[in-house]
């Protein structure tokens, strides 16, 4: 690919974020007997088979029954367990939405909801297996922190922070190996976006698996046009990092948001809503999956189809900067 030639690949490759989730949970469980994984025939895809072998007393299998998965996790959390309810994001956040709303968020049971193989990770399996609604659905629920880590560093930190939090948290992980996006910025806290690339002319706000293509696009903008683009991993969608948005609004440069989610109700609209109500006048564009029957293919093919690719983001940036 021409752009890949243009962008020097100097990032250290890691593992899939959901593998990091499983590895981190193992480390935590070894020191804390209250850590419990709750699975719905999902321990294979959740990389939790070794966890189940090492900690048979700390895993509860409920079978393919997502409503019960979340209800049982709520009961475990209410009894003092640090319950991680693990299921593909598509099922967890749709089939069990009422349990998330009532038994977790409304009842304030600090369950950690872990959506694996999220977005279009299962691209070729079709819409039944895509989660392109979860940001929108969960953003509309009070008392729920929504976290979408972009790389292995963020994934591990997110699992650790979630296990310590006394609040319900939704963690969203993909199944594709991720590069370490910034070895310099090693700060991570919920609600504080992580800048993975500094820049002054344009800001690309992304999260999860769209941060990497955004990073590549930013690098290409620099090498092709000398344009310096800031890349932000807005890993926490709720609460949003409004302090950072205030700074971006004050500076006024164009903003592109990129998400592995339908453009309705996700990261872009969350940012736009805040910025517009603050009187921001930045040029602004939301990139994501449009409101149509989603094309199928691999994750990278679907990203390419909808322009959530280095080339697509680069082209959008060029257009916005004209």
């Amino acid at each position: 690919m021409e752009l890949d030639k243009l962008v020097e690949m100097d990032l250290r490759m890691g593992k899939a974020n959901q593998e990091i989730f499983a590895e981190t949970l193992e480390k935590l469980a070894a020191e804390d007997r209250d850590i419990v994984a709750v699975t719905s025939d999902s321990r294979g895809s959740g990389k939790l088979v070794p966890f189940g072998q090492k900690f048979p007393q700390q895993i509860v299998e409920v079978g393919i029954a997502e409503q019960n998965l979340v209800g049982v996790a709520a009961g475990l959390a209410s009894a003092g367990k640090k319950a991680f309810a693990v299921s593909p994001a598509c099922f967890l956040t749709a089939r069990a939405l009422e349990q998330i709303k009532n038994d977790v968020a409304y009842s304030d049971n600090p369950v950690k909801l872990v959506g694996i193989s999220a977005g279009v990770s299962y691209g070729a399996l079709g819409t039944t297996h895509h989660s392109l609604h979860d940001f929108a659905a969960l953003r509309a629920i009070n008392n729920l922190i929504i976290v979408v880590p972009a790389d292995n560093f963020e994934a591990e930190q997110a699992v650790r922070l979630a296990s310590q939090s006394d609040k319900p948290v939704y963690l969203r992980f993909g199944k594709k190996a991720m590069p370490f996006l910034s070895e310099e910025n090693q700060k991570f806290e919920f609600g504080k976006a992580r800048v993975v690339r500094e820049g002054d002319d344009l800001t690309i706000i992304a999260n999860g698996e769209t941060v990497y293509p955004a990073w590549k696009a930013a690098k290409a903008l620099d090498e092709k046009h000398g344009i310096s683009a800031k890349v932000v991993s807005m890993h926490t969608i709720k609460p949003l990092d409004t302090q950072l948005l205030d700074v971006l609004a004050a500076k006024g440069q164009p903003i592109i948001t990129v998400e592995e989610h339908m453009v309705n109700g996700g990261l872009g609209e969350a940012c736009a809503s805040y910025l517009f109500q603050k009187g921001a006048s930045n040029r602004f564009h939301i990139m994501g999956i449009p409101d149509e029957y989603t094309v199928t293919g691999s994750q990278v093919e679907i990203f390419g189809h909808y322009g959530i690719s280095p080339e697509g983001i680069l082209a959008q940036a060029e257009k916005l900067l004209k």
Binding site: A65, N68, G71, L76, A77, S78, A79, G80, D108, N109
Partner: protein, 274 residues
């Protein structure tokens, strides 16, 4: 408390729940009257709970899945000293914590319920946690017969048997009616005992207005070692008020002043006869 005093308490709880439904002009009258005897027995003879130390981790858990019959729960909790009964003057009023479903903002309430089919899965989690921690407290839920078609209940029935949760007790307030009509007309769940036994539960059937029978069943579990216990409490919707008994409109009917007077007179008579 003697058995007679417990019987009198059932009458007083009926008077109280009608009083606050009448005042609030809202409430689930028929179902509250059908399950209030179960609540009386639970809170006065069965549950190890302390109003002054409600968060004690070793307490028995009671989670009311049929949350809409909150009036029966609230008057029982107030009577047991979880909060002053006068708090219920604000039932369903603006900004009151005493809303139309159980909420944890009220001392003594374990979980926010109201949507049906949610209580039992949470109880399964509570019961598994107790087993994991080697604790001996019990976990109870009260189900409505109208919520039996909820699929989440059947997911939970499977998992409770799978994990051999003999610390778990599900009580069915089997008043045989729901908002649209009889259970049989709306969605037939007949042969429930056989269905539950096939799902791996140990089942007992009791007269849900016989306080001694309820107490005996609830305090003599598990019915089978290694199995969760299910109590089908055969009840009458609107029990205790002649013109409400098994009359569908009292699902959430509110009495007129004349009807309220008549109900209180009937309950006075019932009390005098004990």
């Amino acid at each position: 408390m003697t058995d007679s005093e417990l019987k009198i308490k059932s009458v007083l709880l009926r008077k109280n729940l009608l009083k606050y439904i009448y005042k609030a002009k809202a409430g689930h009258t028929g179902g509250s009257l059908s399950c209030v005897d179960t609540l009386n027995v639970l809170y006065n003879r069965v549950l190890n709970v302390d109003p002054a130390d409600f968060k004690n981790p070793n307490r028995d858990r009671y989670i009311q899945s049929k949350g809409h019959c909150v009036e029966a729960l609230f008057v029982t909790l107030a009577d047991r000293g979880f909060f002053p009964e006068s708090d219920l003057e604000t039932l369903c009023q603006y900004q009151s914590h005493y809303i139309g479903h159980p909420t944890k903002k009220v001392n003594g309430v374990e979980q926010n319920t109201g949507a049906l089919g949610h209580g039992l899965p949470i109880c399964v989690g509570e019961a598994i946690a107790a087993k994991l921690d080697g604790k001996t407290h019990r976990v109870f839920t009260l189900l409505g017969d109208g919520e039996m078609p909820e699929g989440s209940n059947w997911e939970a029935f499977l998992s409770a048997a799978h994990y051999k949760l003999d610390n778990l007790y599900a009580i069915l307030d089997n008043n045989k009616q729901q908002i649209t009509g009889s259970n049989q007309e709306v969605m037939n769940t007949d042969s429930l005992r056989e269905k539950l036994e096939a799902f791996g539960w140990a089942v007992r059937e009791v007269d849900g207005h016989d306080l001694q029978a309820l107490e005996s069943a609830l305090n003599n579990g598990p019915f089978e070692a290694g199995k969760p216990s299910f109590i089908i409490a055969h009840t009458i919707k609107g029990k205790g008020i002649s013109y409400m008994e098994s009359v569908l409109k009292w699902h959430h009917g509110v009495p007129s002043p004349e009807q309220y007077e008549l109900a209180m007179t009937e309950l006075d008579t019932a009390e005098a006869q004990i």
